[in-house]
C-alpha cells in the first residue's frame, strides 16, 4: 500500500522526520518497505501551458505544440492524442532524465533534442509513465489548471510516498485514515480526520431487498442524480496516481479516493441501467455476468450477486457488471457501500480467479460502521465536486448493528506475557490512543474496542496492542524462568548423527535432495531388485503420493526411495568429478491411501563410483566396487553396535543390478548392496561402474546402540600360522572362512584373508586364498606345536569339506 505523506499530514500532525516515523511504524508492526520520493529527479521538468497546437507538415499523426514554460516558449513534436491548447502540462527540457515507456524493465534515458520527421523538437511533453508516476502512456499528463506555469514539476507533484507491506491483521489500518491513526498513537501527534457531512435523512431513494442467505452484514445504497461525468478534480487524480491507481472519471475516481482514504470499497451503478429494486442474493446455479473487464464469468456457488428485478448488475464485493458501468452518458448513479462476509468474498474471488482492489479489502474484513462513514464522505465529495444531488436518503440494510464487547485485561497479564511491568494507567493510555474506550479499576483495564477493531476479543489481543505501541525495543532479554522440563537423551537422533558423521569420516559426502521428484527419475529403478524381499526401490505411479499443484513435472511425486535421486546427483557430479561417493539419510514416503497421513520411514542411501582414493602419483589407482560398499556398511554397522546382521548374495536380480547382497537385520531383509545394472545406468546416462546401497534406517535403529560392552582380550601372545587354500574359482570365500572357523578349535581367535592369487603356476580355474590364523589362549602362551596341531585340523577339514588343496602341504 502506498501512502503519500502530503495526504497523511492532512490527517495527523507529527514533528518527527519521516524516516523516524517510518521506523516507529515498522517496529510497531506496520512495515514500511520503502520510502519513495517522487520528483527527486525531475530536474529539468517544468509546468508549461500549451499555447498553440498545429499540424505537423510531414506526418498526420503528429502535431507541433508550442509550450510556454515561464522562461520562454518551446516547440515540441508530439503524437499525444489528448493534447489541447490551454492545458497545463509537464514539459521536459533537453537533458531531463525520464523513464523509458517502451522498456519492459525499468530503464531511464536522458532526453536529447532532435528532429522528428524533419521538424526540430526542443523538448517533450511527458506522460505519467515517463515521469515514473504510473502505467498510463496513452496520452500526456494533464495538470490541474491552477498549477503555476514555470514551476518546477517537483514542487507541484513531488511527494514522499511510504510503501507499506501490511500483514492481514492490519486490515483496519489499510487506508490513509488508518495509518494516520497509528501514527498518532505512536508519535503522540494529533489526529484530525476529515469533516464528513451527514447522509440525507429521508426515505430511501432506491429500494433494496437482501435475501436471507446472502453473505453480508450491511448493505447501503444511495441514489444521486444530476451527475455530469468528466475528469475528476486534479487533486483527486494526483492522489490516485500517487497511490498507484488509474484515473477513470470523476465518479469512479471519487469512490476510489474514499476507498484509499477510509479503506471501504464503494461501487457506483449507472441508475438508468437498473430496473426497479435492487436485490442482493446468492448467485443462481450457473449464473453468468459480463464484468467491467469485459469478461463473461460464471459465478461459483454462494457468490453474492447484486441484481435488479431482471438481471445481475454486479458481483458483490468483487467487481461490477459492464452493463451498469458509469459512462460518459451517465446522469444518475446508485452508490453502494456494503460489508460483505470476508471468507465468502475470499472463496468466490479465488474460485473465479478474480482479485480486485475491492475484494482484497473485503476478504480481510471491513467494519460495517465504516460503510456509513465512507458513503457519507463519498456523497459529500460528489455533491461538492460533481454537483450531484442525492435523491432521498440511503437504503440501509443492517440487521445486527452493535459495537464489539469490551475486553477485561489485568496488568499482571501484560507482565505474564511480555515479561515487563507496564502499569494499568499506561496501558489504558496506549489503548485509548488506538481508539479504545478505556477505564481502569485498580490493576484492571476495561477496554471497549472501536467498531473497526472487531478483531480484538480477548486479553491477549490487548496485550499485543499495548506491547507494540509501548515498544518491543524496550523489552529486556532474559533467559526463561520457571521449571526446566525433564531432559531426555534422544538416542535415535544421536545414532543418526553418529551414522552421518561416521560416513563422512569414511569419505562420503552427504547430500540433501528434494522430497519431490519426477516419474522419469524414479523410473530408472523400475524392476530393480523388485522380485526380492527388501526395501522397494520403485513403486508404480498409482502407489505414489502426487502433488496436486506441482511447480513443475520435475517436482511432482514424493520419493518412495533415495537411490533414484542419488543416481541423478552422481550423474551430475561425474561431469566435473571422477570420484563421487555420496550418501543421504532421510525420509521416503509410502502412501497409506487418500486423506491418510503416509508413512515417512527414513532410509540410508549410498552411491559410490570412481577411484578408491583421490588421484595421486603415489597411490595405486583402483576403482570403487561393491566390496568398498560392503566394507563401509559393515564398518557403519559395527560403529552402531549392530551385531545381528547378515549379508548374503542375492540370486538372479535381473538387468537392474549385479553383484547384489541382501542385508538382513534381525532376520528380515532391510537393505540392498549392489552394483547398478545396465538399465538404471543407461537411464541416468552414466557409463561408470556404480555401487549402490539402500537400507531401511528403522531396522538399523532397532538393533543399534550407543553403548558398547567391553570384551576381555588375552594378555598372552598369539601364534600366527598361514594357510594357502587352493579352491576352484567358483568357491565363495565365505565358505572357506566358515570351514576354517568351524574347525579351528577354541584357540582360533584371529582369522584374516591376506592374499588372493590366481594365475601361474596355479592350474586354470583355481584360486589361492592365503589366510593368516592366530591361535591364542587366555591363560598361557600357546606352543608352536599346539598351534600347528590346530592348523592341521583346519587343513583336514578344508580338504574334506571343500575338496581344497593346501599349498605347501599338498604340493609335493
Amino acid at each position: 500500500m502506498r501512502v503519500p505523506v502530503s495526504w497523511l499530514r492532512e490527517y495527523v500532525e507529527f514533528e518527527q522526520p519521516i524516516e523516524e516515523v517510518a521506523h516507529l511504524l515498522t517496529i510497531a508492526g506496520l512495515e514500511v518497505k520503502a520510502i519513495e520520493r517522487t520528483g527527486g529527479d525531475w530536474d529539468r521538468v517544468f509546468v508549461g501551458r500549451v499555447e498553440r497546437v498545429e499540424p505537423h507538415p510531414n506526418a498526420d499523426r503528429l502535431v507541433l505544440a508550442t509550450v510556454d514554460y515561464g522562461r520562454g516558449e518551446l516547440t515540441v513534436v508530439t503524437g499525444a492524442p489528448n493534447i489541447a491548447e490551454g492545458q497545463k502540462v509537464a514539459l521536459a527540457l533537453e537533458g531531463a532524465v525520464l523513464d523509458d515507456p517502451y522498456s519492459e524493465t525499468p530503464r531511464r534515458r536522458r532526453l536529447k533534442a532532435g528532429k522528428i520527421r524533419g521538424v526540430r523538437s526542443e523538448g517533450m511533453v511527458c506522460s505519467e509513465r515517463e515521469l515514473g508516476l504510473g502505467g498510463d502512456h496513452e496520452g500526456i499528463l494533464v495538470l490541474d489548471p491552477r498549477t503555476p506555469v514555470g514551476a518546477p514539476l517537483a514542487e507541484v507533484l513531488g511527494d514522499v510516498v511510504l510503501e507499506f507491506d501490511l500483514t492481514p491483521n492490519f486490515a483496519y489500518a489499510s487506508s490513509i485514515v488508518g495509518i494516520a491513526r497509528e501514527v498518532a498513537a505512536i508519535t503522540g501527534g494529533r489526529l484530525r480526520l476529515p469533516e464528513v457531512p451527514p447522509l440525507p435523512m429521508a426515505d430511501p431513494g432506491v429500494q433494496v431487498r437482501v435475501a436471507p442467505d446472502a453473505a453480508l452484514s450491511r448493505y447501503m445504497l444511495q441514489r444521486l442524480d444530476n451527475i455530469t461525468v468528466a475528469p475528476a478534480p486534479a487533486y483527486v487524480q494526483e492522489r490516485l496516481r500517487a497511490c498507484g491507481l488509474r484515473t477513470i472519471n470523476n465518479v469512479v475516481d471519487i469512490t476510489n479516493y474514499v476507498m484509499l482514504e477510509y479503506g471501504q470499497p464503494l461501487h457506483p451503478f449507472d441508475a438508468s441501467r437498473v430496473e426497479g429494486d435492487v436485490v442482493v442474493r446468492p448467485a443462481h446455479p450457473g449464473e453468468r455476468l459480463e464484468t467491467l473487464d469485459h469478461q463473461v464469468r460464471e459465478m461459483p456457488p454462494g457468490t453474492v450477486m447484486i441484481a435488479d428485478e431482471e438481471k445481475a448488475i454486479g458481483i458483490g464485493g468483487i467487481m461490477g457488471g459492464l452493463d451498469s458501468e458509469v459512462s460518459e452518458s451517465t446522469t444518475s448513479v446508485l452508490l453502494e457501500s456494503a460489508t460483505f462476509d470476508a471468507p465468502r468474498i475470499r472463496r468466490s474471488s479465488r474460485e473465479m480467479g478474480l482479485r480486485t482492489d475491492a475484494s482484497a479489502r473485503f476478504e480481510r474484513g471491513t467494519d460495517p460502521d465504516l460503510a456509513a462513514v465512507a458513503l457519507a464522505r463519498a456523497v459529500g465529495l460528489l455533491v461538492h465536486e460533481v454537483g450531484a444531488r442525492p435523491v432521498g436518503g440511503p437504503s440501509d440494510w443492517y440487521p445486527a448493528p452493535g459495537l464489539p464487547e469490551p475486553v477485561r485485561l489485568d496488568a499482571s497479564e501484560i507482565e505474564r506475557q511480555l515479561g515487563v511491568k507496564i502499569p494499568a494507567g499506561e496501558a489504558a493510555k496506549i489503548l485509548a490512543s488506538l481508539g479504545f474506550g478505556t477505564s481502569v479499576e485498580g490493576s484492571t483495564i476495561f477496554a471497549a474496542p472501536p467498531s473497526f477493531r472487531r478483531d480484538v476479543t480477548r486479553p491477549a489481543d490487548l496485550v499485543e496492542e499495548v506491547g507494540r505501541i509501548w515498544g518491543y525495543d524496550n523489552i529486556p532479554a532474559e533467559l526463561p524462568k520457571g521449571e526446566l522440563p525433564a531432559q531426555t537423551a534422544d538416542e535415535a537422533a544421536l545414532l543418526e548423527r553418529t551414522a552421518r558423521e561416521w560416513l563422512a569420516g569414511a569419505g562420503l559426502q552427504e547430500v540433501i535432495n528434494y522430497d519431490l521428484t519426477s516419474l522419469k527419475v524414479l523410473d530408472a529403478f523400475r524392476g530393480v531388485l523388485s522380485s526380492v524381499e527388501g526395501p522397494a526401490l520403485w513403486r508404480p505411479e498409482d502407489e505414489l503420493l502426487k502433488v496436486l499443484n506441482p511447480l513443475s513435472t520435475e517436482h511432482e511425486y514424493l520419493r518412495p526411495a533415495l537411490l533414484p535421486e542419488l543416481l541423478q546427483n552422481l550423474a551430475h557430479n561425474l561431469r566435473h568429478d571422477e570420484r563421487v561417493w555420496l550418501f543421504e539419510l532421510d525420509r521416503v514416503f509410502v502412501s497409506r491411501g487418500p486423506r491418510t497421513l503416509p508413512d515417512e520411514p527414513k532410509r540410508l542411501g549410498i552411491v559410490l563410483t570412481g577411484p578408491r582414493r583421490p588421484r595421486s602419483p603415489l597411490v595405486r589407482e583402483e576403482g570403487t566396487g561393491v566390496l568398498d560398499l560392503k566394507g563401509i556398511v559393515e564398518g557403519l554397522l559395527r560403529e552402531l553396535n549392530v551385531s545381528e546382521y547378515d549379508l548374503c548374495p542375492l540370486e538372479a536380480p535381473g538387468d537392474g543390478a549385479l553383484n547384489a547382497l541382501g542385508l538382513s537385520i534381525g532376520g528380515r531383509c532391510a537393505g540392498f548392496l549392489f552394483e547398478l545394472g545396465e538399465r538404471p545406468l543407461a537411464a541416468a546416462d552414466v557409463s561408470a561402474r556404480v555401487a549402490a546401497a539402500e537400507i531401511e534406517w528403522d531396522a538399523v535403529l532397532a538393533h543399534a546402540s550407543l553403548v558398547r560392552r567391553f570384551r576381555p582380550f588375552s594378555r598372552f601372545p598369539a601364534v600366527r600360522q598361514d594357510i594357502a587354500v587352493l579352491v576352484p574359482d567358483s568357491t565363495p570365500a565365505e565358505s572357506v572362512r566358515r570351514v576354517i572357523e568351524g574347525s579351528g578349535g577354541r584357540y582360533l581367535r584371529h582369522l584374516d584373508l591376506v592374499e588372493i592369487y590366481s594365475g601361474d603356476p596355479l592350474p586354470g580355474g583355481t584360486k589361492s586364498l592365503l589366510y593368516r590364523l592366530g591361535f591364542q589362549a587366555d591363560d598361557r602362551t600357546l606352543t608352536e606345536d599346539e598351534a600347528s596341531r590346530a592348523r592341521r585340523g583346519v587343513e583336514r577339514a578344508l580338504r574334506e569339506q571343500l575338496g581344497a588343496r593346501i599349498r605347501g602341504a599338498d604340493d609335493q
Partner: protein, 339 residues
C-alpha cells in the same frame, strides 16, 4: 719408553684420521693402514720384543688397549656409514604433493542444524521431529488459521489432496509436541524440511529447512524469547551481534514479532541489509491462547513462546553464498567447500 710414546701417537693420529673418513672405501683404506696384519699398529707391536722384559708387560697391555680402542672406533664408524647409506635410500622429495586422504563431509544445512541444535540444547531444548506430509488441520486449522482466512495467503501451499499437504512450516509440530508433553512444561526444537509453492530464484526455494523452537510453562515471556534468541544468535554468529523485535503477525502467536539481527556490516549499511543494518532472521511470539488450548494446555495457567527460522537464508550471509539454489543442487564443488 719410546715405544709407549709411539703407540700413543699412533692411536691419536689413527683416531683423527678416522674422523675424516667419509666413505666405505676410505674406511677400508684406514683399516688397511692401521688395523691390518701389516698395518701400523701391528708393526708397532712387533717392536715389543725389543723391549726389556720388565717393560714388555706394561707396554703390551697398553698396545692391546690401543688396538681394542681402534677396533671399536672402526666398528662404530662402519655402523654410522651404514646408517648414513640407509638414510640416503629413504630420502623423499618432500616437495611432492601430499597424498590426499579420503574425506567426506556433512551437508552445509546439516552442519548448521546440528550447530543450532547444540546451542539450543544448552538452554534445555530437545529435538522433536514430526511429519512432513501434514493435514490441513495441523498445518493451518489448529494453528488458528481456519479455511478462507486471509492469513492463508502467507503460505503458498503444495497439496496432496483436499486434506493432505506438504507442511509449509514446522509449526504443526507445535501442536504435536504440546499434545505429547501436556501437561508437563516443554522446551523443544523442531527442525525439518518445509515446502512452499514458490517460484525458485536466487532468494527463494520451494523446499527449505526450518528450525522451530517452542517453550511452554510458567515464566515463559516475550522477554525470555528475546533472551533465548539473543543467546542463540550470539553463539551462532558472534558475540557482538544484537537482535531486535519488530511487530508482526502470525495467527498462531500473539503478540507476534519479527526477529532481526544486526547485519554483518555491523550497522555501517551494506547491500545485504539494504543499508538498514538489520537482517530479518526469524519470526515468533507468544503462543496464541487458542493454539495452547489446541495443544491441551490451559492458557490461564501457562504461557509459551515460539519462533521459526529458515536455516539456509540465515546462514547464507555468514558463508557469502548469494544463491539459495546451491543448497539442494548437491554439486560437490559447492558441498565440499564446507566439508
Amino acid at each position: 719408553m719410546v715405544l709407549a710414546e709411539d703407540l700413543d701417537e699412533l692411536r691419536r693420529s689413527a683416531l683423527a684420521a678416522l674422523e675424516a673418513v667419509g666413505s666405505e672405501r676410505e674406511l677400508e683404506e684406514w683399516r688397511v693402514r692401521y688395523l691390518a696384519r701389516r698395518g701400523e699398529l701391528a708393526r708397532a707391536m712387533s717392536r715389543l720384543g725389543e723391549l726389556p722384559a720388565e717393560e714388555r708387560r706394561a707396554a703390551g697391555q697398553a698396545a692391546n688397549r690401543a688396538k681394542d680402542e681402534l677396533q671399536q672406533a672402526y666398528e662404530g664408524a662402519a655402523e654410522s656409514l651404514r646408517r648414513r647409506a640407509a638414510g640416503a635410500d629413504h630420502q623423499v622429495d618432500v616437495t611432492l604433493p601430499g597424498v590426499p586422504p579420503v574425506t567426506g563431509g556433512l551437508h552445509l544445512t546439516r552442519q548448521a542444524l546440528y550447530e543450532s541444535v547444540r546451542i539450543f540444547a544448552h538452554m534445555g531444548f530437545t529435538v522433536f521431529e514430526t511429519n512432513e506430509v501434514e493435514t490441513d488441520e495441523l498445518n493451518f486449522g489448529l494453528l488458528n488459521i481456519p479455511p478462507d482466512h486471509p492469513a492463508r495467503d502467507m503460505w503458498d501451499t503444495l497439496y496432496i489432496d483436499d486434506e493432505l499437504l506438504l507442511r509449509t512450516h514446522t509449526s504443526p509440530g507445535q501442536i504435536r509436541a504440546m499434545r505429547a508433553y501436556c501437561p508437563e512444561p516443554l522446551r523443544v526444537i523442531l527442525p525439518g524440511k518445509c515446502h512452499r509453492y514458490e517460484a525458485v530464484s536466487a532468494r527463494a526455494e520451494s523446499m527449505f529447512y526450518q528450525i522451530e523452537g517452542l517453550a511452554v510453562g510458567h515464566g515463559i515471556t516475550l522477554a525470555s524469547l528475546k533472551g533465548v534468541f539473543e543467546a542463540y544468535a550470539q553463539q551462532m554468529f558472534g558475540p557482538e551481534r544484537r537482535i531486535r523485535f519488530r511487530g508482526s503477525y502470525f495467527p498462531f502467536t500473539e503478540p507476534s514479532v519479527e526477529i532481526d539481527i544486526t547485519c554483518h556490516c555491523m550497522g555501517r549499511g551494506c547491500a545485504l541489509c539494504k543499508g538498514t543494518g538489520w537482517l530479518e532472521i526469524s519470526g515468533g511470539g507468544m503462543v496464541h491462547p487458542v493454539v495452547l488450548e489446541n495443544g491441551g494446555y490451559d492458557p490461564s495457567d501457562v504461557t509459551g513462546f515460539a519462533f521459526g527460522m529458515g536455516i539456509e537464508r540465515t546462514i547464507m550471509p555468514r558463508h557469502g553464498i548469494d544463491d539459495i539454489r546451491y543448497f539442494y543442487g548437491n554439486d560437490l564443488r559447492f558441498l565440499r567447500q564446507f566439508a
